[in-house]
Amino acid sequence: MNTPLIIATFLFFLGMLKYLLHLALRRQSLFILATIMIALGFAFQTAGMVMRSMETGHGPYGNLFEYCVFSAWIVFGIFLVAEGYYKIKPLGAFMTPVGFLLCLIALILSPNAAEAPVVREYWFTLHRTTSFLAFGAITLVFAASVMYLIQERQLKAKKFGAWYHRLPSLEILDDVNRKGLIVGFPIYTVGFISAVVWSYQKYGSITIHGSTALLILGWLLFAVASGGRAALGWRGRREANFGIVVFAMVAMAMLTHLSK
C-alpha cells in the first residue's frame, strides 16, 4: 500500500468517526469536517490509485487488494455525489463504514499484495468495472434502506426519539432506494452479461460454481426488487428490506468471488 492510500484510509476513518459523532451530537462543524475528510481522503485515494497503476502498468484489477481499494473508491465517490445531491446528513454515518471496511481489508491484505498476472481483455475489464459500480449503487441503496426502516419504525410505533428528529422523510429515503436500484440494476446486468461473454470466449462454456451462483442469486434478487418497483408499484418497507438483502448478498458474493 503506497503512502497516499494509507493517508486516504486514515482520512476515511476520521471522516467516518466524525459522521458517527455528528449523528450523536448534531454539531454542524462535525458534519462539515467529516465531509472535508472524506473528500480529502477521496483525493488521496485517487492519487494513490494512479500512482499504483503507473507502477504496475495496469488498472486496479490485479488482485483482491486492488479490488478492495477500487470498490471503496467507488463507494466514497457515489457517497460524495449522493450527499451533495440529497443533503441527507446522516447518510455518511451509514455509508462511510462500508467504504472504510473495504479500505481496512485492503490494508490487511496489502503486505501480500503481490503482482498477479492481469487479464487484459475487454469483456473482463468491463465486467469488473461495471460490477464495482453496481456495488457502489447497492451500498447507497443499503444505507437509505436502513434509514428508511428506522424512520418507518419510529413513525409506526409513534416513538419520537432521537432518530425521528435526525432522519429525513420517508419519501426522500424511498427515492434514494428507487434511484439506486434503477441505476444499479442495469449496470449490474451489464457486468453479469460481460462475464458470461468473456467466459464463453475464453473457455467456450460457462462454469457455475459457489461464488458465481451467489452472484447470480444476487442478480435475481436485484431483478425482483427493481422489477417489483417498476411493474408492481412496490415501495417503502418492502423495497427497503430488499435493499438490505441484496446488499448483504452481493457483498458476500463479491468477496468470495474475488478472493479466489
Binding site: 409506526k156 409513534k158 419520537f160 428528529h165 420517508l170 408499484g233 417503502g236
Partner: protein, 422 residues
C-alpha cells in the same frame, strides 16, 4: 465604559406592569428623543418593547447613575410606581448584558423557546434607534452580532425545528412521510376548529387540493369555499379516498368512518403510495388497525400530543447547545471591544504618567535654580526614560493579551490600577 441592559419581562413582571411599560412602535421615536433629554448618562441606546418585555440596552459611563436616570425617566414617562418598577426590573452589566441580548435575539429567553417573531422585533428596535441616531459604534456592533448569533443558532441547532402545537405537529409528521407537500391532496371529513387550522397549515406548506366531505352536503360546500377546495358527497368517500394523500377526520359519528379493509383496498389502488390519516374525533373515526397496513400512517389526537411533548424535550436539549454558542459569541464580542478600547487605554496610560512626570519636574526644577540648562535637560531625559521603562512592560503585555480570553480582565485591571477611569 459600560454596557447595561435594564428591563422587565414576562418572568419578572406581571402583565399589569408590562402593559404600562410597553411602547407602541409609533411612539418609539418620541420615547428615544425624550430619553436623550432626560437621561443624558445613556450614551448609546436601543429600546426594545414587545408584549413580553420592555428593555433598554445602553452604553453608560457610570452604571449606578445611568440606571437611576433611567428609572426616573420610566416612572415619569410611563407613570409607573417606583416601588413596582424596582421590584420587577433587572439590570445586567457587560458580559451579562451582552449574553442577555444574544439570548433574547435568538429566542432562548422567550416564553416559547425558538419562536420566530422576537428576532424581527429586536431588528425593528435597532432600526428605530439608528433612525434617531441613538446608537454608536459599540451598540451597532453588539446588535449586528446578535442577529448573526440568532441566525447561527437557528441553523446550527434545532431549537426552531420541531412543531410545538398539535396542528403544526400534524404538518411535521406529514413532511416526515411525504417530504415535500407540494401538489398533495388532503381530505377533510367533518369539521371543527382544529381540523381547519391543520388544513391551513398544510396548505401553507404546499398542499394543493382540498376535498371536503360532510354528512350534510351544504356544510361541505361551505367549507370547500373557505379552502378553495371541492365538496365531496359523503356516500362517495370510498371512491374519492384514492386521490387523497392526507386524510383528516373529525366527525361526530359513533362508528368508524374508515375501516381497515377499505384502507387496504385504497392503498392497493394507489399502488402503495403512502397515506397519512389524522383522526381527531372522539369516539374515533378511523379503525386503529389501519396503522398496521404498510404505507398507512394513522395518528389520533393523543399521538399528536405525544409528538408535541417529544418536540418540547428536543427543543430544551437544543437550547442547551445554543447556550454554548451564545457563550463563545459573547467572548468574541469582548475580544472586539477590547481591541477597540486598547488604543485609548494605552494613550490614557501614557498621558497619565506623562502628566505626573511634568508636574513633578516643574516642582523639582523650580527648587534647583542653580542647575545649568544641560543638567536640566539631562534630568528631563532621565525621567522620561524612567517612565518609559516603567510602563513598557504593562503596555507590551496588554497588547499581547488583547487577543486572548483574559484580555478583557487585563484591560480592566490596568484601568483600575492606574486610575484611568477617574
Amino acid at each position: 465604559m459600560n454596557l447595561i441592559v435594564f428591563g422587565i419581562n414576562h418572568k419578572t413582571a406581571p402583565v399589569e406592569v408590562r402593559e404600562k411599560l410597553a411602547i407602541p412602535e409609533k411612539a418609539l421615536g418620541d420615547n428615544l428623543r425624550l430619553l436623550e433629554e432626560r437621561a443624558p448618562g445613556l450614551r448609546e441606546k436601543v429600546v426594545l418593547s414587545t408584549c413580553n418585555r420592555t428593555e433598554i440596552y445602553a452604553r453608560v459611563s457610570d452604571v449606578a447613575s445611568g440606571v437611576d436616570e433611567l428609572k426616573r425617566f420610566l416612572c415619569g414617562y410611563h407613570e409607573v410606581d417606583r416601588a413596582a418598577l424596582d421590584k420587577a426590573a433587572y439590570v445586567l452589566v457587560l458580559e451579562d448584558a451582552v449574553e442577555h441580548l444574544f439570548k433574547v435575539a435568538s429566542s432562548l429567553d422567550s416564553m416559547i423557546v425558538g419562536e420566530p417573531q422576537i428576532l424581527g422585533q429586536v431588528k425593528g428596535a435597532y432600526r428605530a434607534a439608528r433612525e434617531y441616531s441613538a446608537t454608536g459604534a459599540i451598540i451597532n456592533r453588539l446588535f449586528e452580532q446578535s442577529f448573526n448569533v440568532a441566525k447561527r443558532i437557528r441553523t446550527e441547532t434545532g431549537i426552531a425545528e420541531n412543531a410545538v402545537s398539535v396542528s403544526f405537529a400534524a404538518v411535521e409528521l406529514a413532511k416526515k412521510i411525504f417530504g415535500d407537500l407540494e401538489g398533495k391532496t388532503a381530505l377533510l371529513i367533518g369539521a371543527g376548529e382544529m381540523i381547519e387550522l391543520a388544513v391551513k397549515h398544510l396548505m401553507a406548506q404546499g398542499v394543493e387540493t382540498v376535498l371536503v366531505a360532510n354528512r350534510t352536503y351544504d356544510r361541505a360546500k361551505e367549507l370547500a369555499v373557505q379552502f378553495n377546495g371541492e365538496a365531496v358527497k359523503f356516500d362517495h368517500l370510498h371512491e374519492e379516498l384514492k386521490r387523497c394523500d392526507i386524510v383528516i377526520s373529525s366527525t361526530g359519528a359513533p362508528h368508524f368512518v374508515v375501516r381497515k379493509d377499505l384502507a387496504e383496498k385504497v392503498i392497493g389502488q394507489r399502488q402503495n403510495r403512502p397515506m397519512f390519516f389524522i383522526d381527531i374525533a372522539v369516539p374515533r373515526d378511523i379503525e386503529p388497525s389501519v396503522n398496521e397496513i404498510d404505507n398507512c400512517y394513522l395518528y389520533n389526537i393523543d399521538d399528536l400530543h405525544q409528538v408535541v411533548e417529544a418536540n418540547m424535550v428536543e427543543r430544551a436539549r437544543e437550547a442547551q447547545r445554543a447556550e454554548e454558542i451564545v457563550k463563545s459569541e459573547v467572548e468574541q464580542f469582548f475580544v472586539w471591544l477590547d481591541r477597540l478600547e486598547m488604543a485609548p487605554t494605552i494613550i490614557a496610560l501614557r498621558q497619565n504618567v506623562e502628566a505626573v512626570r511634568k508636574a513633578e519636574m516643574e516642582k523639582t526644577l523650580g527648587r534647583l535654580a542653580a542647575l545649568s540648562p544641560e543638567d536640566k535637560e539631562a534630568i528631563d531625559r532621565m525621567t522620561q526614560s524612567m517612565i518609559n521603562k516603567i510602563i513598557h512592560h504593562p503596555i507590551a503585555n496588554l497588547k499581547r493579551k488583547a487577543e486572548s480570553e483574559e484580555g478583557h480582565n487585563y484591560l480592566k485591571a490596568v484601568r483600575y490600577l492606574f486610575g484611568l477611569d477617574k
